[in-house]
C-alpha cells in the first residue's frame, strides 16, 4: 500500500510536469498550428537558469520567477523565428523549431556545460499511509494545478485569451476584425515558453536536467498533448497525469529502464487510434 501511494504521488508530480509541457504545446499549436519542438528546451533553460541563480545567492521564489521569465523570453525568440516570417508553413516551422533546439544546445553547453544539473527544491518529506513523500511532489502538483486553472481562466475569461483562440478557430475572421495573427502567435509562443519554464523549475529538483534532456521532455509532453488533439487543455492534463503515473508504476513494480518505453508506446497507440478515426480528407479539409 505504502509503495503504491509512493508511486502514485511521484507519478502525479512527474505527470504534472508533462502536463505543463503539453499545455505549452497546446497553447502554441492552438494559435499557430505549429508543433513546437523546442518546448522541452524551455524547461531545460528554466531549470538550469534557476539552479545558477540559486547558487548565485538569489532566494527561492525569485530565482524560479526569473528563470520562468527567461524561458518566456526564449519562447518569444523561438516564435519570432518560427512564425515571424509570413508564409512559413506549420511544417516548416516545426523544422525551424528543431533548428532552434540545436542552437539552444550550443548556448546551454557554453553556459552550463554538458553534465546534468539539479538544485534542491522544497526540502523535507511527509508520511502518508506509510509512504515517505517528498514535499516537492506536492509543490509540483499544487503549482501545476494553479497554472492550469490560470490558463483555463485566461482562455475563457479574458479578451486576449479569446482573441488567441479566435486566431486558431478562424484566422481569416481574426484578421478581418483587426487581430494581428502573427503577433498573437508570438504571444502564444511566449506563453508556451513560460509554461515550459514552470515545468522546468518544478521538475529539476526531482530529476536533474542536462542540455539534451529536452528530447524526452518534448516526447512526453507531446504524448500528453496528443490526447487532446493538440488543441484541448483538459485532455492534455489528463494525458500528462496518466503518463506520469504509468511510468512511475512501471518503474516501481517492473523495471525502471522500461518506463519511457511504456510512455512512448502509449503515445503511439493513442496517435494511431486517433488517426483511424479521421480520414485524410477530413484533415485536409480542416486546414
Amino acid at each position: 500500500m505504502s509503495e503504491f501511494v509512493q508511486y502514485l504521488v511521484s507519478g502525479l508530480a512527474v505527470g504534472c510536469s508533462f502536463a505543463l509541457l503539453a499545455s505549452g504545446l497546446v497553447t502554441i499549436h492552438r494559435v499557430t498550428r505549429v508543433v513546437n519542438f523546442a518546448q522541452g528546451m524551455f524547461a531545460v533553460v528554466a531549470g538550469l537558469t534557476a539552479g545558477s541563480l540559486l547558487s548565485a545567492g538569489l532566494p527561492h521564489g525569485l530565482a524560479e520567477a526569473v528563470a520562468v521569465l527567461t524561458a518566456g523570453a526564449a519562447g518569444l525568440l523561438v516564435g519570432v523565428a518560427a512564425v515571424g516570417r509570413r508564409g512559413t508553413s506549420p511544417q516548416s516551422a516545426l523544422i525551424v523549431t528543431l533548428g532552434i533546439g540545436f542552437l539552444a544546445y550550443a548556448v546551454e553547453i557554453v553556459i552550463w556545460g554538458e553534465d546534468p544539473r539539479s538544485f534542491p527544491g522544497l526540502g523535507g518529506a511527509v508520511e502518508i499511509a506509510g509512504a515517505h513523500l517528498q514535499k516537492q511532489y506536492f509543490l509540483v502538483i499544487g503549482a501545476a494545478a494553479l497554472a492550469f486553472a490560470a490558463l483555463g481562466l485566461f482562455f475563457t475569461r479574458t479578451l486576449l485569451g479569446k482573441a488567441l483562440g479566435a486566431c486558431a478557430s478562424n484566422p481569416y475572421a481574426a484578421r478581418a476584425v483587426g487581430i494581428d495573427v502573427t503577433r498573437m502567435g508570438l504571444v502564444a509562443f511566449t506563453l508556451g515558453g513560460v509554461l515550459g519554464g514552470v515545468a522546468g523549475v518544478l521538475v529539476t529538483p526531482l530529476q536533474s536536467l542536462s542540455y539534451n534532456s529536452d528530447v524526452l521532455l518534448i516526447t512526453n509532453g507531446f504524448a500528453a498533448a496528443i490526447l487532446g488533439g493538440l488543441t484541448r487543455l483538459g485532455p492534455a492534463l489528463a494525458g500528462g497525469l496518466a503518463l506520469g503515473v504509468a511510468e512511475s508504476m512501471v518503474a516501481g513494480y517492473y523495471e525502471a529502464s522500461y518506463q519511457s518505453v511504456v510512455a512512448l508506446a502509449l503515445m503511439l497507440a493513442v496517435m494511431v487510434w486517433r488517426a483511424s478515426q479521421h480520414t485524410a480528407l477530413q484533415e485536409e479539409a480542416s486546414l
Binding site: 550550443a106 557554453v110 528530447v215 496528443i226 529502464s257 518505453v261 494511431v272 485524410a280 485536409e284
Partner: protein, 396 residues
C-alpha cells in the same frame, strides 16, 4: 466554386498541380517542377548535367586514392550519410512524410549485419540481409504509423527510435548498452574489405546503386503518383493513386537504404552500440536532407557532403589547442541550428533546387533577352509546394 478568398491562400494551388502531376496529361517541359528536373531528364539541362555526372563520378573514383589516408574515413562517413539521406529525401520530398527516427533503420541494418556475422554466417549474407531487415521492419510498422501524417508521424518515428534504442540497450543478445564487438571484416568472393579505402569504394558502389534505384523509382509511373501524394493525398487518391501502398513502399525503400548503409557501417567499424545511433543522428539526416533540398538526389548528396565536411572542419577547429573541451559540440550544434533555420526560412527548397532555379532563370532570361520570370521549372508555383515542410505534408 472557386472563391477569390481561397486563391489568396496557398492551399488553393496544390490540388490543381497534384491533379496535373497525377493525371500527367500535359507536363509541358517549361512547367516541370524542379524536383522532377533534378531527377529526371530535363532537356534543357541535359548537357551540363551529363558533364557534371561524369565529372562527379571521375572525382568520386579518384578521391579515395588521392585523399590523404587520414581523410578517407571522413569520405566513408559522408558516403554512408548520403545513402541514408537519399532515401530520406525521397520519403520527405515525394511521399511528404517526415521521419525523425531514420537512424533506427540504420541501427537495424547495422545490427542485422553484425549479428549474422558474429554468429558465423558469411559476411556477405549479413550485408545483403541488412537492407532487407530494415525494409521489412519499416513495412510492418509502416502499416499503423503511416496513417499518421505531418508532425504526428515525425513524433511517431522519433518515439519508435527511442523505443528501439531502449530495447536494444537491454537485450543480452544485442550486447546491451555495451554493444557488439569484434564484427569481422566483410568478405565477398574471397576478397576481404579491410582498409578504409576499400570501404570507401564499397560505399561508393552502394551509393551508386541507391541513386540508380531512386532515379528509376522516381521516373516510373508510381513515382509520378508519388509526386501527387506530396501535395495532396486526397487529390492523389481521387486520381487513382494507391496512396497507402505507395507510401508504404517509399517508407520501406528509404528504410532499406538506411539499412544498407548500416550494414556497411557495421563491417567498417567492427563495433556497434546503441550509443552509435542517437536520436541526434536522425536529426542530422533530416538536416542534411532539408538543407540539400528535399526530393532530389543531388540535394541529398550535397546536403550530406556540406554537413559532413562542415562538421569535420568544426571538429578540427574545436579540438584545436586552447579550445575548451566542449567546443566541438558547441560549434557543431550552433552551425546545425543556424543552417537549418536559415535554409528553411530563406531557401525553403534547399540548396540544390534553389541553385538550379537560379541557373535556369538566368539562362531563360539570357535566351529570351528579357526578364521573363514565368518560365523556370522551379517557378513560384512549384516552390510553394516544395517548401521544406510543405513538401512534408498537407498541413496538420
Amino acid at each position: 466554386m472557386n472563391k477569390p478568398t481561397t486563391q489568396t491562400r496557398s492551399q488553393g494551388g496544390p490540388p490543381t498541380r497534384a491533379r496535373r502531376a497525377a493525371g500527367k496529361r500535359s507536363p509541358a517541359p517549361a512547367r516541370t517542377p524542379a524536383r522532377l528536373a533534378a531527377f529526371g531528364p530535363a532537356a534543357r539541362l541535359r548537357r551540363p548535367r551529363v558533364l557534371a555526372v561524369v565529372a562527379l563520378c571521375a572525382a568520386a573514383l579518384a578521391l579515395p586514392q588521392v585523399l590523404p589516408a587520414s581523410d578517407v574515413p571522413v569520405l566513408v562517413t559522408l558516403l554512408l550519410s548520403a545513402i541514408v539521406v537519399t532515401g530520406l529525401s525521397m520519403l520527405m520530398g515525394y511521399a511528404g512524410q517526415i521521419s525523425l527516427g531514420h537512424a533506427a533503420f540504420y541501427l537495424i541494418g547495422a545490427y542485422t549485419a553484425a549479428l549474422l556475422a558474429t554468429h558465423g554466417r558469411p559476411t556477405w549474407l549479413g550485408l545483403a540481409a541488412a537492407p532487407l531487415a530494415a525494409a521489412v521492419v519499416a513495412a510492418v510498422i509502416g502499416v499503423p504509423l503511416l496513417r499518421l501524417r505531418g508532425h504526428q508521424l515525425a513524433f511517431a518515428t522519433l518515439a519508435m527510435q527511442l523505443i528501439l534504442l531502449n530495447v536494444v540497450g537491454q537485450q543480452e543478445w544485442t550486447g546491451g548498452d555495451i554493444g557488439l564487438q569484434g564484427v569481422p571484416r566483410l568478405t565477398v568472393a574471397g576478397y576481404e574489405f579491410s582498409s578504409a579505402t576499400s570501404y570507401a569504394y564499397l560505399t561508393l558502389a552502394a551509393l551508386a546503386l541507391v541513386v540508380i534505384v531512386t532515379r528509376n523509382v522516381v521516373a516510373s509511373r508510381p513515382g509520378r503518383g508519388l509526386r501527387a501524394l506530396a501535395t495532396s493525398e486526397v487529390a492523389a487518391e481521387s486520381a487513382g493513386v494507391p496512396v497507402v501502398a505507395y507510401k508504404l513502399a517509399v517508407f520501406s525503400l528509404s528504410a532499406g537504404f538506411a539499412g544498407l548503409a548500416g550494414g556497411i557501417y557495421a563491417f567498417y567499424t567492427g563495433y556497434l552500440a546503441p550509443g552509435s545511433f542517437p536520436v541526434l543522428l536522425s536529426f542530422e539526416f533530416v538536416v542534411m536532407a532539408v538543407i540539400g533540398g528535399l526530393g532530389t538526389v543531388w540535394g541529398a548528396l550535397a546536403g550530406a557532403a556540406v554537413i559532413t565536411l562542415l562538421l569535420q572542419e568544426l571538429n578540427e577547429l574545436g579540438t584545436a589547442e586552447g579550445m575548451p573541451g566542449s567546443a566541438p559540440a558547441v560549434l557543431s550544434y550552433a552551425v546545425y541550428g543556424l543552417l537549418l533555420v536559415l535554409v528553411v526560412l530563406y531557401l525553403p527548397r534547399g540548396l540544390v533546387p534553389s541553385a538550379t532555379a537560379w541557373w535556369e532563370r538566368r539562362r531563360a532570361r539570357r535566351r529570351s533577352g528579357g526578364p521573363h520570370d514565368d518560365s523556370p521549372a522551379a517557378g513560384a508555383g512549384a516552390g510553394r509546394g516544395a517548401d521544406a515542410g510543405a513538401a512534408a505534408g498537407k498541413g496538420t
